[in-house]
């Protein structure tokens, strides 16, 4: 077991559909400045840096960390770039966690970003498909996600209504989030009546396309108190994978997420996730994913996700609020999202979320993922 690691400073940009006033590097700089100020530190205090972003094809800059390093004044420091599709930010945080937990760094800055206004999102994602076997018929991640949601409807009862409830919940929650940029009140009927894009996925099941960056400072127990009296301690964190096209891969439940949560729950002493967690932040690239996560994270048994959302338990005033921040529905700068979810959960357990604090929250669950739905991770944060 490694050393205890806490999140001691957080910062994110005001995400938007398109930021024409800053370059990719400028976007990263904004989030880093905010996280360092929040942690009462300067770049001199940082030992190591992790830069995380989505696939290079999203914004056409290869090896962007060398550009980012100049922009954040990190010349001469240890820097690695981590990329893992939608889970890039979370995988970056995991890499940073290992550095501090392993005793190789006392303070690690993790900054994650994507500037999706610059490229062709779905086409870039289609290049994840095997070029020999499937890419010529790929429709990004949307065609695939909608197809397996359709299959889960029959097997697990993840209906269009249930997903629409998720979309409406998150969209309405995003209205209070100062960093979100899509903030329109939406009803379940609005979602159901919106245009089918890749049916069953409809327009309002889909998050916006965003430019944004997010940064966290991870610190060892030894130095955490210099930044805050109440860090958000990482009690467990894992990111697992599964085979891409194996015979046993049903895609009904997320097996890698179930594996990751088992590992993390054991580390954090979680035996009853529904009762123990005060708040949950998940990365829902489409509304249907959140239903899938309820089951894989053990918030409800398989097949009961539709009942869970319908019960209101995951609303902000429910007993297990999920995405009080609005999740991806408020803003979705893909590579940054894993870190944004960690920031949301951290500010909850630190008791300093200004706009959507869950009262007395002290234990939070974070989920993130990437790749072909075959990379999934989660983390537990506590006060």
């Amino acid at each position: 077991m490694g050393r205890h690691v806490g999140i001691v400073g957080v910062g994110q940009t005001h995400h938007s559909r398109r930021r024409t006033d800053v370059s990719q590097a400028g976007l990263v700089r904004e989030a880093v400045d905010r996280a360092l100020a929040d942690a009462r530190l300067s770049m001199d205090d940082i030992d190591t840096i992790v830069v995380a972003s989505g696939p290079v094809l999203f914004a056409a800059v290869n090896q962007p960390e060398k550009w980012v390093v100049d922009a954040i004044g990190a010349q001469g420091k240890s820097v690695v770039r981590v990329t893992s599709g939608g889970g890039a930010g979370f995988a970056g945080a995991l890499a940073g966690y290992y550095q501090v937990a392993g005793g190789f760094s006392d303070r690690t800055l993790v900054v994650a970003y994507d500037k999706l206004s610059e490229g062709q999102l779905q086409y870039s994602i289609s290049t994840l498909y095997d070029p020999f076997w499937g890419r010529e018929f790929a429709v990004g991640i949307m065609g695939f996600s909608a197809a397996y949601w359709r299959a889960r409807m029959d097997v697990l009862g993840h209906t269009e209504e249930a997903a629409a409830m998720v979309a409406a919940k998150n969209r309405n929650n995003a209205i209070d989030n100062p960093y979100a940029h899509q903030k329109k009140p939406v009803t379940v009927e609005d979602v159901l009546n919106s245009k089918p894009l890749c049916w069953p996925i409809k327009l309002l099941d889909v998050p916006p396309i965003s430019d944004g960056a997010a940064a966290i400072v991870l610190a060892s127990e030894k130095v955490a108190h210099h930044s805050t009296g109440r860090p958000a301690w990482i009690r467990g964190i894992a990111y697992c994978c599964e085979a891409d096209n194996a015979a046993e891969r049903s895609l009904m439940l997320s097996e890698p997420l179930a594996l990751a949560s088992r590992q993390v729950y054991r580390a954090a002493g979680i035996t009853n996730p529904r009762r123990q967690f005060d708040v949950v932040e998940v990365q829902e690239p489409y509304s249907c994913f959140e239903l899938n996560y309820y089951e894989s994270l053990g918030l409800c048994p398989p097949g009961q996700a539709a009942d869970l959302i319908a019960s209101g338990a995951t609303q902000r005033d429910g007993d297990i609020p999920v995405n009080p921040s609005g999740g991806c529905m408020g803003a979705n700068p893909i590579g940054a999202v894993g870190v944004i979810r960690l920031i949301e959960a951290a500010t909850q357990v630190m008791g300093r979320n200004e706009t959507h604090q869950i009262k007395d929250a002290s234990l939070a669950l974070v989920q993130s993922g990437g790749g072909w739905a075959n990379l999934r991770g989660c983390a537990v944060l506590s006060a």
């Binding site: 010349q75 086409y123 010529e136 429709v139 049916w199 085979a243 096209n245």
Partner: protein, 308 residues
């Protein structure tokens, strides 16, 4: 003892693949101002509190990340510090007079006429705007006086977005398993997989090692060109790079005799009917292209529903 296995590379045909992508890149304030100002035939630089001047302008000092205190006009003359020739074109580093960085650009001269340390001057290209190539290149200017960095009163609004495009060509190696599969598709119009270890069901595409058991896979097996939909969605939006007319069905199909999915499409007349008639479990058959097969998945033009 470290011994090399008895294997050697074989030259074989490759699979050509292209990625074509348009972009709208954001240069940021400094580079955006530089690009907006080239039409005024000025080279804009950044001056930092340390006194350092970087040209073309940058939002952050490459030395320490500090932000510039002002934009300045850099001289159009400088010193050639290094150069080389690439594809018959000479490129070099130019340290503009009064600036603290190297500006990479074309050198409009013969390589053999150049020497590090010689004076050069910018030559503009009348036909180009909003690009660093509005400066055509730098020409030797042995007698050019040493220029000075000048303060600026006002600059053009920075460019917010720059169009850009990438075309990437790849030649992927098939490997023995994909090679055989695509040869069989081209020559015999059949889809061959390999059996899972100890089972009759075939893995598609074929592979040497089973993903779950990590055991060596079994013998080759021809799968049927009929199968069952495992998952499907109805594509009803325009996506860059997809030319097929919408709506149509994106389907993950398990061919009879196989245990893994193949991705393909099914044509439909309308979305509402397809919602009810095409779903997981629906039986489908391949419709092959007419004429010569090329040895790719698109030799199957589409799948169609087998009427019950």
């Amino acid at each position: 003892m470290y011994s090399a296995p008895d294997s050697y590379p074989i030259e074989l045909p490759t699979f050509h693949s292209e990625i074509n992508l348009p972009y709208t890149l954001t240069p940021g304030r400094a580079a955006g101002t530089f690009l907006a100002e080239v039409k005024n035939r000025r080279i804009i630089g950044s001056r930092f509190a340390s006194g350092r001047v970087i040209a073309p302008a940058q939002d952050f000092s490459p030395a320490d990340g500090e932000e510039p205190e002002a934009f300045v006009e850099a001289p159009q003359t400088g010193v050639l510090t290094a150069f080389t020739r690439v594809d018959g074109q000479v490129i070099g580093f130019i340290r503009l007079d009064g600036c603290d960085n190297e500006f990479p650009h074309r050198i409009l001269a013969r390589l053999e006429d150049l020497a590090a340390g010689q004076r050069v001057a910018a030559e503009w290209d009348a036909g180009v705007e909003q690009s660093v190539l509005a400066i055509k290149g730098f020409v030797p200017a042995p007698d050019a006086p040493v220029g000075t960095v000048k303060p600026l009163d006002a600059t053009e609004e920075p460019l917010g977005v720059i169009p850009y495009a990438m075309k990437l060509d790849f030649e992927h190696a098939y490997g023995p398993y994909y090679g055989r599969m695509f040869d069989e598709i081209r020559e015999n119009g059949r889809i061959m997989g390999v059996r899972q270890p100890g089972l009759d069901a075939a893995l598609l595409p074929p592979r040497e090692i089973d993903d779950i058991t990590h055991a060596r896979t079994g013998t080759w097996k021809a799968c049927a060109d009929t199968g069952t939909i495992r998952a499907c969605s109805i594509i009803n939006m325009e996506v860059y790079g997809v030319t097929r007319k919408v709506p149509y069905v994106y389907a993950e199909i398990v061919l009879d005799g196989a245990s893994t999915r193949m991705i393909h499409v099914i044509e439909i007349d309308d979305l509402e009917t397809a919602k009810k008639t095409i779903k997981p479990g629906t039986r489908v058959r391949a419709v092959w292209v007419e004429g010569e097969r090329k040895g790719r998945v698109s030799d199957i033009e589409r799948f169609e529903v087998i009427d019950a």
